[in-house]
């Protein structure tokens, strides 16, 4: 019984990682829940992974506020190189 739910630790954690982005399917989530009901190690991994997701989320908010621009110096250098390229 329940054989269809049986997965390895590696498979469980693959599902766990996918579900951090909300992209694991219903049957995958069932398998994961079944696995961590019995496997303490993967239960710990799952808990810590959620914690990490929260940390990454904050990091992401920080990074996305930032737009990257090229320095004027780099632009001038690039203009010089373009001129050479166009005349060659």
């Amino acid at each position: 019984m329940f054989k269809f739910l049986k997965i390895t630790c590696q498979e469980a954690n693959e599902i766990c990682n996918k579900s951090q982005y909300g992209e694991a399917s219903f049957s995958e989530k069932m398998k994961l829940e079944f696995h961590i009901a019995f496997c303490k190690i993967c239960a710990l991994y799952t808990k810590q992974n959620k914690n990490l997701t929260g940390i990454f989320k904050r990091k992401s908010l920080d990074c996305k506020e930032h737009t990257h621009c090229m320095s004027n110096n780099d632009k001038e250098l690039l203009k010089e190189k373009m001129k050479q390229e166009m005349s060659s």
Binding site: T8, N17, L52, S60, C63, H68, M70
Partner: protein, 184 residues
């Protein structure tokens, strides 16, 4: 009909292209090179421009190809990719945790302290320790929060390929954060 005017490219598009590249490759020098290569390739193929798209769209399509080339290059790189850690047994116990790589409980004090600049820079250090292609895919998915479909299209990989990379990246990151932050 759109036309090309290379003399204005740098003033008009370099910031846009540069930002586009930096959020994907996360390295300012590589991004600068990619922008330069894009403009040069644009000059060389200007005669093929049919005027159907805008200048900017046309340049971005060149940059996209440069980014795929870059991803292929780091994907085929030997060395750093080979030091990737295995966390699971193979053979008879395939897919079980390797005993000395089993996750440890985290020190609960550090676990709570997540509003911290040091923590953010530790994450960067751990991401930079990953094989380059893992770092690139992980950042695009997790930090820049691109859709799976978009990343797959941009890097020309399959979704299952992406999830394997994400899984390996996160497992390795977890272990790095455990050693250098949570249980330091």
């Amino acid at each position: 009909m759109n036309t090309l005017d290379p003399n204005t490219w740098i003033d008009s598009y370099s910031d846009y292209l540069y930002n586009y590249a930096v959020v994907r490759v996360n390295n300012t020098d590589i991004a600068k090179d990619l922008v330069q290569e894009t403009f040069f390739a644009g000059l060389r193929s200007a005669k093929n421009f049919e005027g159907k798209s805008t200048e900017r769209t046309w340049l971005i399509s060149i940059l996209k190809r440069k980014i795929i080339d870059y991803y292929r290059k780091i994907n085929s790189k030997k060395g750093k990719a080979e030091v990737r850690m295995n966390f699971y047994e193979s053979g008879e116990n395939e897919g079980s945790w390797i005993e000395e790589r089993v996750p440890q409980s985290w020190n609960s004090e550090t676990e709570k302290n997540i509003e911290n600049e040091e923590l953010k820079s530790q994450i960067d250090v751990c991401i930079d320790n990953l094989p380059e292609k893992y770092a690139m895919v992980f950042r695009m998915k997790t930090i820049q929060e691109f859709e799976t479909e978009e990343i797959c299209k941009e890097l020309n990989i399959t979704p299952s390929n992406l999830w394997v990379i994400i899984h390996r990246a996160r497992t390795q990151l977890r272990s790095c954060m455990e050693k250098n932050w949570f249980n330091k």
